[in-house]
Symmetry: C2
Subunit: 188 residues, 2 copies
DNA sequence: TGTATTTCTTAATATAGATTAACAAATAAG
DNA sequence: CTTATTTGTTAATCTATATTAAGAAATACA
């Protein structure tokens, strides 16, 4: 997680928690699955402590990690939720995690905003996600696997120590073997 | 543009136009550049008629199209604008275009929202962008060039007739030669 | 209308990263 | 602790896409 995102997360935190739509606090253990591809009731999760991830499994059975969500992040399958279609993403816990369950979808949440501050905090959250995704798309289109890995190291310095390498590979869109080779080259 | 996005665009249109931050209507001709990499004053553009695109140029001088923006869409370099850093993206006109210039950044816009409807319309706009980018990231990570091209044909059926093939290739993250080959294969 | 420029196609060759396989190292489980 | 399972490494081979090049087709321009 880069520092600006960290700040963003902490910044929005109190505002997010203020909202009435958060009804449930939950603890899950490592490996627990919160959402499966095909699920119809789609919720979002605010991570208080621990680490979640969201990912797809493609036709060939291969996993592709969409995001890692450490402390302060919200995971949600926004495409599916907004369209009202079944969940596209799996969500599970990579560590024992404390989280808040957000039942309402983001559009319904806007109705209960009571202050400009709240609106701003939520907008900031959305804008930051767009920024992250913009960067990710541009990197996927223009950078080599090694360049994307280097960027990952800088942008998310503390994730590497918390997840197996094969998950970093899955996030980067390459195989574990390819990542191993890249790391080997980078040592020299 | 897929139908759900089309609806989104039309839906938000009036709300976007209502906002006071839109100060200037402008006509630009094909080829005109609205923003260059490195620009410091970053604006957003609402397309009333015509077609804009945003793109980067990488170290090797290669162009990568980030989005096509036909009627009803907003183009903006959100990452740069939010961070306050110089523009990362070029924005130019692929057709003669009528547009509205939005000077304020999205966060400052929230302050002038006067109704829940307005907040909702803007949130919907952001959520739809996230959905589009979520899909794009997952496709870039898991699908072959041919699969991505097929998806493009379905998702943006009317863009193909309006831009040269090499730009479709640039959007897909492949070379014009590769796209030509794929199209050749698909004819059989 | 004719010429210049840009775009598209085809093909040969090169390359990054995938696949497969086998083994080593680390972690989890009994 | 000991064994089973998961993860990481290395290397050989394969494949999708890039690169280079050259000509054809389309488009813009003088």
């Amino acid at each position: 997680m880069k520092s600006s995102d960290k700040e963003m997360a902490n910044d929005t935190r109190s505002k997010v928690l203020e909202l009435k739509e958060i009804i449930e606090t939950k603890k899950v253990i490592k490996g627990e699955v919160l959402q499966k591809q095909g699920d119809l009731k789609i919720k979002s999760y605010y991570v208080k402590k621990g680490l979640l991830r969201s990912y797809t499994i493609d036709d060939k059975g291969k996993e592709h990690i969409f995001i890692f969500a450490p402390e302060g992040w919200i995971v949600s399958d926004m495409e599916s939720q907004t369209k009202g279609s079944p969940a596209q993403l799996f969500i599970d816990a990579l560590e024992d995690t404390e989280l808040e369950v957000i039942e309402k979808n983001i559009l319904d949440q806007t109705s209960s905003f009571t202050s400009t501050e709240q609106t701003k905090a939520h907008t900031l959250n959305l804008v930051n996600r767009i920024s992250t995704l913009q960067k990710r798309v541009l990197l996927l289109m223009s950078a080599s696997a090694k360049e994307r890995y280097k960027d990952f190291l800088i942008t998310y310095p503390n994730i590497i120590q918390r997840v197996p390498q094969k998950m970093v590979a899955s996030y980067l869109g390459i195989t574990p073997e390819a990542l191993s080779k890249i790391r080997g080259e980078m040592l020299k």
